[in-house]
């Protein structure tokens, strides 16, 4: 069961599924809001992904540095200290991480922000509130 109370790193194992035949895809969810972390984790868990939720870009990079099995990153845009855009840039600049698809979420629909993220290599930009159908649409398109 996914548990996202508090800050820091929280991991959860979901039922098998989410990939075309192997272990469930490991998705890293990044959001400084505990409520939004809970909701996106719930959506991903219901889609049978394995979810780790963290509260900052810094913690996301720490986890990405220590684990090799993250298959997708979904991150909020607007976070203190390191925005989702800055996290995206760091991922795409890293030879180790750049292949990991990154999806950005934001509560604000700002066209220039969306363009900037897509140009930097984001797979998609989802306007909150994110729905399970958004996740299905994006992940089905992005993942093999």
């Amino acid at each position: 069961m996914s548990s996202v109370a508090g800050g820091g790193v929280v991991g959860a194992a979901a039922a098998a599924g989410g990939t075309s035949g192997g272990a469930p895809l490991h998705v890293l969810a990044v959001d400084d809001s505990s409520v939004d972390r809970a909701v996106i984790s719930g959506i991903l868990r219901s889609s049978r992904f394995r979810v780790t939720a963290v509260d900052s870009g810094k913690r996301a990079l720490e986890l990405l540095g220590s684990e090799n099995n993250v298959g997708m990153i979904i991150t909020d845009y607007w976070m203190p200290e390191m925005t989702g855009y800055e996290l995206l840039k760091k991922v795409k600049e890293s030879s180790k991480l750049k292949q990991i698809p990154v999806v950005i979420m934001s509560s604000e629909n700002v066209p220039t922000r969306i363009s900037r993220c897509l140009e930097e290599g984001a797979e998609d930009f989802l306007v909150k509130p994110v729905r399970p159908s958004d996740v299905s649409r994006v992940f089905n398109r992005v993942l093999p």
Partner: protein, 152 residues
Amino acid sequence: MEYANLRRQAASLKRSLFDQGYLDEQFCQVEDLQDEASPNFAEEVVSLFFKDSARLVANIEQAMEKYPGDFNRWDAHMQQLKGSCFSIGASKMNNECTSFRNSCGEENAEGCRRSFQKVKREHAILRQKLESYFQLLRQAGPTRTATRPGGK
């Protein structure tokens, strides 16, 4: 029979929360994420919301006292609270947060103060109503599926 009655009361309370504008469809989306693995998911998320929102309200209050006229700072704090309201479907609170942010944009301190009082009031009301709702659900016991107002 008693459990069925409690579930009816819970459904009726939820319907009234929607009818009176306290909640919107997003709340149903959160409830829809409940399953056998996470049967209390909605209550957990709402509990997180009230823990988080109490902190954010305190931050805003402190910011308004310590930084008078710093509308950018006030707005930044309220943006966080508004985001949380949005995520759980707390519609009335969300609207009051928007009013506050509009007043920040107009640099209208009195407008901000009035809106903030409304935010706090709606926060307290919503907490009380949702606590009642989840208490009824706990007493009623587990159900197979969440329902939308109107019985869908």
